[in-house]
Subunit: 251 residues, 2 copies
DNA sequence: ACTGTCAAGATTTTCGAAAATCGAATTCTG
DNA sequence: CAGAATTCGATTTTCGAAAATCTTGACAGT
């Protein structure tokens, strides 16, 4: 028996995904993560120019890893690259936000249907746990609306809850797209924090969706999820006007 | 009136997309395109290790642009990166192919519905033109099944046809995902060319879909599109077995 | 006053060598 | 002899400087 398989002996990497949780061992990777965070959290302003000299000092790395990091984040759309002109933080565009929201609605509906059909017990358990954590975080936020850390905590739990909903579908590509889209959505949500007086908890909606999912009721779950997104979209649209007035004053 | 808008004066890049057609002005970008092509067209084998020295000679560039190119393509999933271990060409995984196919079915259905609702006359015209070109390319392929160039031509037209279907939906993000997924799908399709005796033209299906779209019949168009994908999936599943037998013999 | 050309300055992109990391073979230890 | 620690060669990653490109502003011509 000859040992010459066409595929390499060890099935190297995963199919995809840098695996969200594990920290990169390389400088470029670490900088990429920091960049993502700094953009989503608005430490870097939308449309801001990202010059190598500045970033090099800020993150304390040379140009090579910095450049690689920028390309990684650019592939995700959080920064925009133009040849020989440099990089900028992706500008805020409300139309894009709507686009992202709509796509998420479609994608997550599709995912939840798949999960309800194929999801195993592990999926159910994880989902339940994720909701529990989301609920607790929601209570904490309600207690003090202005606590940045609590909102961040809630934001993380919120992501994990939606992720848990989708996870059972067993589609790596879908989960990959989920990650990309969610980052953008979070950026927009945080952008609104500055203008919205109160956080919209909507935990009851989340609970209803979860219950439908655990009941294995495809139609109900998908419908509720769609409604969830639609409501959110309407809310942000109304905020949009407020923001546009506010920014109009500035200029 | 003070000139200090928060957003930069010129609305720099587009929201997204390196714009498929235009050739990059930078070495890194060019190499990235070549890499994509070489992977999709199987000039580089699935699972093959991509060492800097080799690629550096092959593409005649230094390590910096090469590295950047690899990251760009890795973000797309055509190569897999692992820290301090290097890059490999993404392995062929039939499960992934199914995943990609299913997601495409969902995404393109969603897109075509949007296009039928919102698509303007320009969309209709482009779609018609795309189909015409696809048809001609199909005839050329039928005349000589083994002509590599004709199959490539058909493949390009096929992509453009499906793209034209989706384009009217006006969702940049969806079109972005379309691009990513299609590249992978094409790679798998080309992989099968080695094992399939005859190309499956299925132009009649394409025509039916187009007509439904031009009739602005959402349901019919979406249903036909879904069926189109389902049929394709079944076909490839049967080929899969054949391929697995063939590769089993090799090892 | 308007337009186009050209040089200077600033910035990005690329190269080539140095540093860091990994995997495997080798040596040391119990 | 088994298992842990170590050294070595190969490869990736990073740095710093050189080359290429773009932008700005001055200047000349119409």
């Amino acid at each position: 028996m000859k040992n010459t398989p066409k595929q390499p002996a060890r099935t190297w990497g995963p199919g995809l995904h840098p695996a969200r949780d594990e920290t990169p061992k390389t400088l470029a990777g670490r900088v990429a993560q920091q960049l993502r965070q700094d953009i989503i959290r608005h430490r870097l302003e939308p449309g801001e120019r990202l010059q190598f000299e500045k970033l090099s000092k800020l993150y304390e790395v040379g140009t090579s890893p910095l450049r690689e990091a920028l390309f990684q984040v650019a592939a995700q759309g959080l920064v925009v690259a133009e040849d020989h002109k440099g990089f900028i933080v992706a500008p805020i565009q409300f139309d894009e936000m709507l686009d992202v929201s709509n796509l998420r609605a479609n994608l997550e509906s599709y995912a939840i249907r798949g999960a309800i059909r194929d999801g195993r017990e592990e999926w159910e358990v994880d989902l339940l746990a994720a909701f529990h954590r989301l609920k607790r975080a929601g209570i904490a936020v309600a207690a003090d609306q202005d606590d940045e850390d609590r909102r961040t905590e809630w934001e993380d739990r919120h992501r994990e809850f939606h992720y848990a909903l989708c996870k059972g579908c067993g589609s790596p590509w879908l989960l990959h797209f989920f990650d990309e889209l969610y980052d953008h959505m979070e950026r927009y949500r945080r952008y609104f924090w500055k203008y919205a007086e109160r956080a919209v908890a909507a935990d009851s909606e989340h609970e209803a969706i979860m219950k439908a999912a655990l009941d294995r009721d495809e139609e109900r779950a998908a419908t509720l999820l769609q409604a969830h997104f639609q409501k959110q979209a309407k809310l942000t649209m109304s905020l949009r006007k407020k923001v546009e007035r506010a920014t109009a004053e500035v200029s």
